[in-house]
Every structure is written in structure tokens, then in C-alpha cells.
Symmetry: C2
Subunit: 403 residues, 2 copies
């Protein structure tokens, strides 16, 4: 077990948490040597010796004593420069930057192999819940069929305020921003991109296949209206923002991020507030449910600590499933059953529905329930982006698959 000398990039919410946790981790055998920040003169919550701070990345990347780079900065492109630069210099890396990882994973996997170094990022998906590690190791077999969950705490907090506390969507969003559960520009969370990036990473470790985030259908919750909320309440379901990757046959899988009507007999129905919950379904073991704090300074920092200690034992992701025989292929052919609410946009004309089962028309608002292929939802993405339109998945087909 070798001693770990950390070069830390970023001293924001998560970086500060890491400093605090490492101070109390008696058995970590790891210490921070240098911290790279944007402004060394900024006042800090934790006391850091002045000579530990730097604004120059090279002071970490070119220090031969530093054997682990921990990267927790906000800027995805800068994060990629740091992470790829460290890997190229033969340094192991731990990171929590989900958008950067989701966009650059194939390249980062190559860099790990070429330079014989490890890159760990369990903190990037669901914070303190050990999803990546379990998919990579414990569920390393042919039984896995589906990973489905609530991967974004901010949007879930907002929907919980709406469905459990009868707040309006607008009020809930304001509360979330005020409490720090959502950014002042919350679009990354509520438009589903945070969930999407996590889903892309999860899919690599679940099925051994990388799918570019640009090729995945994503639809968020920002268009939700009182009408949709009342509709769900009448049906005694909640609307949740759900990310899922599902094997639909031995040879194919599909994946998407979409609001979904969630029935109360589903595990994710009870995942409320800022929590995350992930259901892992497989042949033989059926459904396993993992639940916990998905974000926040200390939960995320605790996940980073898990990766740091794993490095002290030489752990790395092997990406074993990428070499599996009979790996399934990504498809957007599956038929979904969806609810589409609209006011003026003629969605039934513009979207290529396979069939329509219900049509509600009134003076103020309309909706349609019908079957449509995922590829046609993708094609109709601009139509669904109209401000008077809101889309919700009705998960009847995949439920049927279970029986």
C-alpha cells in the first residue's frame, strides 16, 4: 500500500469537502500536497497554508512526487485538459466531472491504456452511491438487464416540492435555488443533461457500450404545467425525471432521459427531495435498489475518498464488459407510450405517432396519449421543445417486459 500524494484541482464546494474529510481520515494514507485554484487570494472556508495553493496547473502536473490528481472543477473543457494532461504524464486521476467524462470517455479510456494509469470517477454518478463500482465489479456478468433511476437531485427536489408539498413548479424552483439544490442557471439539471451525462457513464459500466450523449434522447421538466401536475395527481402517480438504459433483447438496448409517470408500487416513487435512487434489474436477482445522497459537498467528497483509497490498493476500472462476447447494440427503434400535452403546437400532425389511444381537446389545453418510436421522438425534438408542449413517458411497455 503506497502513500498517496494528491494534487487537487478545485477548491469549491466539493474540493473543500475533500480537504475536510482527508484531515479526519486516519487510515487514508493520503495527503494533499498542492491545490490549484483560479484565484489564490480568494477567502476560503478552510485554512490552507499559502504555499499549498497555486494558480499554475504545471506545479501539480509536473511534480514527480504527486502520484494522484484529484480534479473537481466546474469547467468541463478545462477539466478535460487537466485530466488528459495528468494521464499523459503517467499520473492516476480521480474526477467527478460528469459532463467532461460523458463527452470524452473513449479518449480517456485510451489514455488510461496507453499510459498504464488509472482514472476513477465514482463520484461523477450519484455522488455517494457506489453505482459505477458495483456495475463494474459486482454486476460483472451477463445477467444485467436494466439500470433505471433518479440521478439528479435538483430536479427531484423540485418535483418533490410539487408532488409532496403541493407547491407550484415556479415556487419549488425558487426554493431549490435559494437552498442551493439548484444552480442560479438550473437548466443543466432541469433540462435533463446532468442525468444524461450520468446515464452515458453508467451505460459504459453496465453494458460495456459508449453512446455519445448527442445521440441520446433527453427531455427535462421545465415545461411542466399545473395541468400536467393535476393530471398525474388524478391518476395517483408522481412525475419524476427518470434516466434509464434497458436491454430490450439479447442483441439490443435502448436508453433515454424523460419525465415519467411513476406508480406508487415502484421503488423510485419514494425517492424524494434531493436524494438519488437507482434500480438495477437483472435475470435471477430481479431488482436491487440503491438509495442515498446524490450530491452535496461532503457526500460527493466521501465518494472521492473511496476512489482515493481504492487507488492506494491499486484499483482501476478494467472496462471488462467492453470486451464481452455478444455485447448488445444501441437502438432507438423501440415503441414508447407517451403523454404529450400541448396548447397550439399541432403535435399529432408534426410527430410521427405510430398510434393514438386517447385525445383530450379543450379550449385551453389538449393532450394526446399514443405510441411512438424513440427515433421519432428524437426527430421531433424541436417540436417537443415548443413552450406549450410537455412530454411524459408512460412506462407500460418496459413493465410488460418483466413478466
Amino acid at each position: 500500500m503506497s502513500e498517496i500524494k494528491i494534487g487537487l484541482f478545485g477548491l469549491g464546494v466539493v474540493g473543500t469537502g475533500i480537504v475536510k474529510i482527508l484531515e479526519n481520515a486516519l487510515n487514508a494514507n493520503a495527503s494533499i500536497k498542492k491545490i490549484c485554484v483560479r484565484d489564490i487570494n480568494k477567502p476560503r472556508e478552510v485554512a490552507i497554508p499559502a504555499d499549498m495553493l497555486t494558480q499554475k496547473a504545471e506545479e501539480i502536473l509536473d511534480d514527480p512526487e504527486i502520484n494522484l490528481v484529484v480534479e473537481v472543477i466546474d469547467d468541463a473543457e478545462a477539466a478535460f485538459e487537466i485530466v488528459s494532461g495528468a494521464l499523459k504524464r503517467g499520473k492516476h486521476v480521480v474526477s467527478g466531472s460528469k459532463s467532461m467524462i460523458a463527452k470524452h470517455l473513449p479518449e480517456l479510456i485510451n489514455l488510461q491504456r496507453e499510459n498504464n494509469v488509472a482514472f476513477l470517477y465514482d463520484a461523477s454518478s450519484c455522488g455517494s452511491i457506489p453505482v459505477i463500482r458495483n456495475l463494474e465489479e459486482y454486476y460483472d456478468n451477463d445477467l444485467l438487464l436494466e439500470v433505471k433511476g433518479i440521478l439528479n437531485g435538483s430536479s427531484n427536489y423540485i418535483l418533490s416540492r410539487v408532488f409532496d408539498h403541493n407547491e407550484s413548479y415556479k415556487d419549488a424552483l425558487q426554493t431549490a435555488i435559494r437552498l442551493g439544490f439548484a444552480e442560479s442557471d438550473p437548466s443543466f439539471d432541469i433540462d435533463g443533461y446532468d442525468s444524461l451525462f450520468k446515464l452515458v457513464i453508467i451505460t459504459v459500466h453496465a453494458l460495456g457500450v459508449y453512446v455519445n450523449p448527442d445521440d441520446v434522447f433527453v427531455y427535462g421538466i421545465s415545461h411542466i404545467s399545473e395541468f400536467d401536475i393535476n393530471y398525474a395527481r388524478e391518476k395517483r402517480v408522481k412525475i419524476k425525471l427518470v434516466a434509464q438504459v434497458v436491454k430490450i433483447s439479447d442483441t439490443e438496448f435502448t436508453m433515454f432521459v424523460m419525465p415519467e409517470f411513476v406508480n406508487k408500487n415502484r421503488y423510485i416513487y419514494s425517492v424524494d427531495d434531493e436524494y438519488n435512487g437507482v434500480v438495477i434489474r437483472g435475470e435471477c436477482y430481479d431488482r436491487q435498489f440503491m438509495f442515498g445522497k446524490g450530491a452535496g459537498s461532503l457526500p460527493t467528497a466521501s465518494s472521492i475518498l473511496s476512489d482515493v483509497m481504492a487507488r492506494s490498493h491499486g484499483y482501476r476500472y478494467e472496462y471488462k464488459k467492453m470486451g464481452y462476447k455478444g455485447k448488445p447494440e444501441y437502438t432507438t427503434e423501440p415503441l414508447l407510450k407517451v403523454y404529450v400535452r400541448y396548447v397550439d403546437t399541432p403535435v399529432t400532425e408534426l410527430l410521427n405517432f405510430d398510434s393514438i389511444e386517447q385525445r383530450f381537446i379543450s379550449n385551453e389545453v389538449n393532450y394526446v396519449i399514443g405510441q411512438i418510436r424513440l427515433k421519432d421522438l428524437k426527430k421531433g425534438r424541436d417540436i417537443l421543445a415548443a413552450p406549450d408542449v410537455f412530454l411524459v413517458n408512460i412506462p407500460v411497455f418496459f413493465e410488460d417486459l418483466d413478466n
Copy 2:
């Protein structure tokens, strides 16, 4: 990645599941060479070539081609002979025999070290839920404070029938036996020993400390009466059989298995039927909840498959926490708050209560609520075993620890 040649001991419910799963595990790179059973002529659910079966352990243990022994037999002493014999011969072993492992773990750890072989047993605790592996790897740090859960599916099924379906305890027990959720002699499950053995194994991987099962207080559900059930219903709580290991300070921890009044805001409140649920609590990440099928042929076999595939990548438990600085020590000093119902046994005279808060006396049945040290519950174990007595933990002290 080396090919795995398995020698399987046991072809009962779990063994049959393993045969079925391996047939369909395209990427397992593992096959069964020989199966040792008690009676080779017994009719089997799965078709096995006659030359694959043997009644002689040596045909597996002394076969140099077999590099992994999988042991899933019912008899704990025979299981220990097989497992220790295999380890001594330099063979890796996967096992699910919780009582054998709980009783012999220190010796089995030594055998692993002496013979430089691995012994994996994630299936022994909570079947398909990856508790051991996560405690050993992901929660490999100083943050862990508590592992608490419902570890026995049979007793939980019975209590669920009582609390969710208003069945009597006797009827529920009969239903459980009829459906195969409990053995025809169900005492191993309902008296708490199954939970105890799992807890002993979990504690080794949670805190790095082995505690002999004989030194742990265990109390089951077989004395529960309609009075207790009604009492719980009136208080709007459920009674569940809960196993827990809890750090009570930086230097000490305690552990026990006991029925507990579970409030509906607790995660384990919703763990019903034959399911298992485990709450892992730590500094920084707070509570993580893992939920799934804890027993049964295929869920347990899927967990065995996880261990088999982990072996093909050279995985072993390192028992890292056993070498931790500042490991906590086991204590039975903590004060607990308990409910003790009795008819004739003068429990307040015979048990060394620290204080008594409530006393209910009637012509038919009595109860007392008071504080008592865990060591005094242990001393009073015989008194609590009287048929007219039932004990339930009221988890108020440990709840307070959280705040």
C-alpha cells in the same frame, strides 16, 4: 483472465441455481467440472451427466485441474471441512455458508494468508445484495458508523404477513413454511441466528473486528403475541427483526440482533415480505440504503456468480480494516431502551434495569419500558427465554446519536 474450472459441493436449491446460471453466462469463462453430492442417484431438477457427479470430496479437492471450489451445502461442520481442506490445498473457494463462516472466520482468514488463496462469500450475507464487497471496498475508510438492517427474509416475511396483512403470527409462520420461505424447523431464522451470523460477517468487513457469535446478544421473534402486535399497531410502528452494528464512540462499537419497533420514517420500515434491506450510515454520506432479494435459489446463485467472476479477475478480500489504526473495540455497556412484555415471570426483579419509565399491569398481561445495559440483557438471557416473555428494542438512543 484465467479460465475457471469449478468443483461444486452441493446440488440443492442454490447449487441447482448455480448450474442453471453458469449455462447461460456467456462471458463467465467458468465451467463446472465436478459436483459432489450426498447421493448421486437422487433425481435432479437439472440434467447432469452421470460422470460429473461424485460422492467423494477428494475427487474435487485432489483434482489439480479444478482451481475454484464452490461450496453450498447445508451442513456447517462438513462445509468447514471442505472449505478449509480446499484452502489448504491451495484452491480458491467461494461459499455461502453463513453459520460456518461466522463461527470459523479467523481461522479461514489465516488459511487464506498461509496458502495465498482467496475465499469469497458475498452470497453469505443478504444473498444478491452486494453488502460484503461494498463494505470491503467502497466503504474502505474511517467514515463508517453503522450497518443496520433486515438480514433474514423468512422472519421478515412472517412479520410482514402480520403487520401488512393482519394475519396471526401462527398463520403467517405456517404460510411461510408452506411457501418455502421458512424451513420446517424455522428456529434458525425466527430465533435470529441467521441474522446473527450475517451480522458477525458484516462486522468483520465493516469495522475490521471479529466478534464470536456466542458473545453477541440475539433475540428472535418466536415469542411475539397478539398483545405485542396490537401494542405496535396502536403506536403506528411495525415490529421487525433488526441486526445492527453501531460505533458508539471513536473507540467503541456495539452489536446485537433484536426485534425493534420501527417507525414509518425509517428506510427499513418498507422492507417487506422476503426482502432484505441494509442501511449503511457514515460521516459525510449519512445513510445509504441497499435493498433486494436476500435469499432464494437464483438470487443467491447470482451472487455466487459475482464471486466466481471476481475470481477470474484475481479479486480477494484484503481485510484491510483489520489493520486499521484506531480500530474500535466491542462493548456491551451501552444503555438500551426496551419494551419487555411478560405474564408471570417477574422480569423487573430478575433483570437489572437501570431505570423504569413505564409499567403496565393487568390481569392477563404486563409490560415494562425501561433502560437496561446490553450486558444485563445478555446476563438475563435465560429469563428473557421464558415462554411468557417478549423483548423489543426501542431505538431511541441510537437515533439521538445522529443529531
